[in-house]
Amino acid sequence: MTDDNGARGPALLGMHGISKSFFGVPVLNDVRLECFPGEIHAVMGENGAGKSTLMKILVGVHQPDAGRIELDGTPVRFHHPRQALAAGVSIVHQELNLLPDRTVAENIFLGREPRRRFTVDRTAMDRAATRLLATLRADDLISPRALVGRLPVAQQQLVEIARALSYAPRLLVLDEPTAALSPHEVDTLFERIRRLRADGLTVLYISHRLKEIFDLTDRITVLKDGRRVATVRTSEVDTRALVHLMVGRELDHYYPPRAAPERIGPVRLALRGAGAGPLHDIDLDLRAGEITGLAGLAGSGRTELARLLFGATRMTSGSVELDGRVRRLRSVRHAIRSGVGLLTEDRKTEGLVLQLSVRDNSLLAVRALGRRAVRRVGLGDLLDRVGLRGSTAREVRYLSGGNQQKVVLARWLATGARVLIFDEPTRGVDVGAKASIHELMRELADAGTAILMISSELPEVIGMADRIVVLREGTVAGELPAGASEAEIMLLATGEPDRRAAAVGATGAGGAA
């Protein structure tokens, strides 16, 4: 397959030779990206491929270490998001950046409130906000005077997009805008994006979801491990080719072999009819020696289930059995004492105390448990087991994502946890570390630990899990054996037979076979 260099007139945006490192870890390496007027251009790649960093460089949040950016052929350099906005480049970041205590109009026009003499002209501001929302066909949905904090997430997202549009941009960057949306909301969002393109807007669409990319975009630039792999026309590739570009190797290469059936032991943890918040009627068995994959769309209750198992949210119905005995997981401390460990999705805000050392972070949980627990533990032995070398006195904020994850893992090895919940274990981790974390998970399982792995990356679920449980709308939609296809998982996760998803899954599984 050849690169599509899109020889059709001048590019609106050209990024050439962009490189960037954080703390000595290269994130982007000589990346090129060209975008033509009026197209929807996808930037895709796995988690950690460098998509978000590239976009942050484009809009002036980060400065590139090397490379140049051109708009309409003229070189530009943005040192502040303000300058990018003035040049006609708007972005909707992955994390919403809204003020919940302020109104929709106040959020949209923050920093550029229309004035009449010294007074902010609220009437004009509200009217302008309504006009912007109207271009998104959301003016009857959202009042400009509503407090943002009271809107549902999908509508907050529209407010963010309206704010980006208020700068009258020529290029709009959408960074994973669908992560928190339901399938129906995604469809309406796409409808709105297409309408914006019809009005002449150029859109850069960041995602790692194949279905969305095929539904929406004209061309695709694929990133892998911080490098550009290829730029292709969407109409000229099929999913199999695209997966190949993204992954760049056969899937089964870097997943350790699955558990032999005879190594799978008794049930360690069993949920019966469990419910809390959005979750209801969940039955789940986790067995010693087995890695159970947990899949489901965003909002299906994956993270909530992890927190429930970990005692972080109180169960309102049903029961938990640990090693055959009914236990009530009253609190996190209680869960830890009962031998459960959780590796949170977001290491920086929930997993690590960044300014503490490797040693203090590794021993955090066991120290919270009690004096006797601490005596059992040898730190050196622990770090050997997770394969982390170097001084134990380093502050963990200087570690790479993979090594940070190893520190969190060491913490649960120290408590002797026999049920481990991994919530997105390899998010933001480079490929090498990813493989070693996967191997560690398998070793732990072989040593008799029951593992629940939550992942939004289906290849990871398929590659790692001995059994796959799919959640939908807060409850278990079904269970699949090892090696199920992406199509089967998507079918259960969405609850509707979706041909496109089926097609995607078939190639994904084909690659793995």
Partner: protein, 334 residues
Amino acid sequence: MTATVAPPPGPAAERAGARARRLLRAVPPIWLVLAVVIVLIAWRNPTFVEPGPFLAFLRRCAPLAVLAAGQVFVIIAGEFDLSVGALVTAVVVVAARLSDGDPAATWWLIPLLLAAGAGVGLVNGLVTTRLRVPSFIATLGMLLVLNGAVFLWSGGAPRGSLADNFRQFGRFGIELPGLGQLPYAVLILVAVGVGLWLLLSHSRFGHQVYAAGGNPRAAALSGVDVRRVRTVAFVISGLAAVVAGILLGGFTGVTAEAGVGYEFQAIAAVVLGGAVLGGGRGSVGAALAGALTLQSVFTLLNLLGLAKSLRDAVQGLIIIGAAAYAAHRLRRSG
């Protein structure tokens, strides 16, 4: 920066130099500042570093140093304690009123005061963690309540007096041949300092204090009972305030102004020691050094003949400078 890179081999001298630099960096800069100030004082007044005067200086430092060593727990845990000054005053006034100079009372008075101090800390902690009142407001309220209650009870002005055996802790000491008097206050300061240092830097609880202040969410998800840890930090601060009150009562006698301004001085000393308001950083040793530095700067200003009131101004500049330096260092290290 990464785990796997081994240090490049180099000449032995270079390695030794690097080691010395590392060692120097491991010493909190406040100790160097303290050393410089003491050298300056000794240069103006050589007798200062003789055992007698120096021990007297340490005795003067003891109340503030003890307060700072308690306050540092609260600040590392991510909170404030503004009530310690009022608690110091309360200790002095209550002790005088209850004992009224009766030496026999001292032995039940001290445990009683310590229990009361722990109680004040407990209330501070519970109001902060359970009722979710910001500690700034919670301990400000405690300050008002203590000031009001103590004087309401004592009828507006401190009455009674302190027994000699109560005052001895702040006033007297053990006669050492050749060295003069080793004040009890210095012994107590050393004991409290070592005890709290062990607790903060070498106990499970101490590690949890750092975690609770550094990232409360991560700490809670690792099984740290953040609310309990913070509450205990307030109790430690309360206990330290009682000890400081006993020392100060012995040193200055009964006044209604015994503890005035001490809450801010204690926080200033802790900040001077490199702790960051907001939590997660600091140490008992550096807080003690901060307190000693503050006192020694006052001594130096005295020697230089500066008006007493100007000390406040200098203190203000010092803590702004220290906090700015800490902020600068944090930003530079990412």
